[in-house]
């Protein structure tokens, strides 16, 4: 990892640039009628399955604004619907819409359903205030997807966030944790290392970085 400091420095620069630099927007395209029909049907299915249908439409509009082809838009919406289904399967029928959409995001980032389930289980054990208002699980999924997008490996990110969840870390704290990890990465830290280091301050039971995390029964890998 840090064996060639120059390479990692260069890589860090590239990542930093990729992280910061905006990309040129193409002009938006209107949605075709067939696409609207297809999306509408998918929304009907979603509603029938108690999934948030609104997000499907928003995905279509997003694609339209970003100038994507109709086919790409339909594929994206279909893929999102499938991810929502997976999320619901992993989380159960009492999952809230934000939990479903954020879990779908984590799934898209590469987290498998067992990872999703582990986080749900950690939440069940947690003592919280008003469970109906508790968005901590959704926050964990958001932070998980974010860490992965910043090149923390999926397994590491999952391990870290599960550790935080089991340590009962709250909504605001977990976003602060994410912010600090991002800051470290921008300053050149190795993503996985920063994630572990910052998490251990909140969840001392996590192993230090570099030590192989203990395998839990039920892990698919």
């Amino acid at each position: 990892m840090c064996r060639r400091p120059l390479t990692s420095l260069l890589l860090c620069c590239i990542f930093a640039v990729l992280g910061l630099s905006p990309c040129r927007a193409q002009p938006g395209k209107p949605l075709g009628d067939e696409t609207l029909e297809a999306v509408s049907l998918m929304m009907d299915s979603a509603r029938a399955e108690s999934l948030p249908a609104e997000t499907l439409m928003q995905k279509a509009l997003e694609g339209s604004t970003k100038g994507a082809t109709d086919q790409k838009i339909r594929e994206a919406v279909r893929a999102l619907l499938n991810r929502l289904r997976l999320a619901k399967k992993a989380l159960g029928s009492d999952a809230t819409p934000p939990e479903l959409t954020t879990a779908a995001g984590a799934i898209y980032a590469g987290v498998d359903t067992s990872g999703i389930r582990r986080l749900k289980e950690a939440q069940a054990v947690r003592k919280t205030g008003d469970p109906s208002n508790d968005q901590t699980l959704a926050a964990e999924f958001v932070v998980l997807a974010d860490l992965i997008s910043r090149n923390v490996p999926v397994d590491t990110a999952s391990q870290v966030v599960i550790g935080l969840a089991e340590a009962n870390v709250g909504f605001a704290e977990i976003f602060e944790f994410r912010r600090l990890v991002e800051q470290d990465i921008r300053s050149g830290a190795v993503p996985a290392e920063s994630a572990y280091r910052r998490a251990r301050r909140l969840a001392p039971s996590l192993p230090p970085f570099g030590r192989e995390p203990a395998r839990q029964p039920g892990d698919s890998r």
């Binding site: 949605l31 279509a60 339209s64």
Partner: protein, 176 residues
């Protein structure tokens, strides 16, 4: 006289020529404003503002638009401002403002009560799109020009407005 001639006359200094344009487009503008804002008083005030603004900025009117579309652009913005002004402070357009029905404001007096209430349930941008499409008979391109939204978003708004109105105005709405 036609629109172009009237506009030229007004720009040339003939104020009274503007009344020709008012006569031509008042009824339609008022209808939109009243349906949109669901209040006769607000509708009249907003229509007046729009026409006055149109007069003031007539120099900027470029003949590639139909005058009516250009006027409607002003009118739509005025209606939005009026609606937003019902909330105080520095806002961006709220997505789902409090419905008039829930605030017991005077609903559209000429419209059947259930229709008026159903329209009041729509979020403003959906109501706006629905009225422009089906009452003003605009094409999506014209609507895009008038509202500043893109065609896809407009199609979506019209579709959702239609679905919601259907639910509210037919028996299907009862099986919630």
């Amino acid at each position: 006289m036609n629109d172009i001639e009237a506009i030229q006359a007004v720009i040339g200094g003939d104020k009274e020529a503007f009344s020709w344009l008012v006569d031509r487009y008042y009824a339609r503008s008022l209808r939109f404003a009243v349906r949109m804002l669901q209040s006769q008083e607000d509708g009249e005030e907003t229509t007046q503002d729009a026409f006055v603004r149109a007069y003031q900025t007539l120099d900027r009117y470029e003949h590639r638009d139909r005058f009516e579309a250009w006027l409607f652009k002003i009118l739509v913005n005025r209606c939005r401002t009026k609606a937003a002004g019902r909330n105080r402070g520095r806002w961006s357009e709220p997505l789902a403002e409090e419905t008039l029905a829930s605030r017991n404001e005077m609903a559209d007096p000429l419209l059947k009560r259930d229709m008026s209430r159903a329209l009041a349930q729509l979020v403003p941008e959906q109501r706006e799109a629905f009225i422009l499409k089906f009452v003003e008979d605009m094409t999506y391109e014209e609507m895009a020009d008038v509202t500043g939204a893109d065609v896809s978003a407009l199609k979506m708004r019209v579709m959702r407005a239609r679905e919601q109105l259907k639910k509210l105005l037919t028996r299907e709405g009862d099986t919630e």
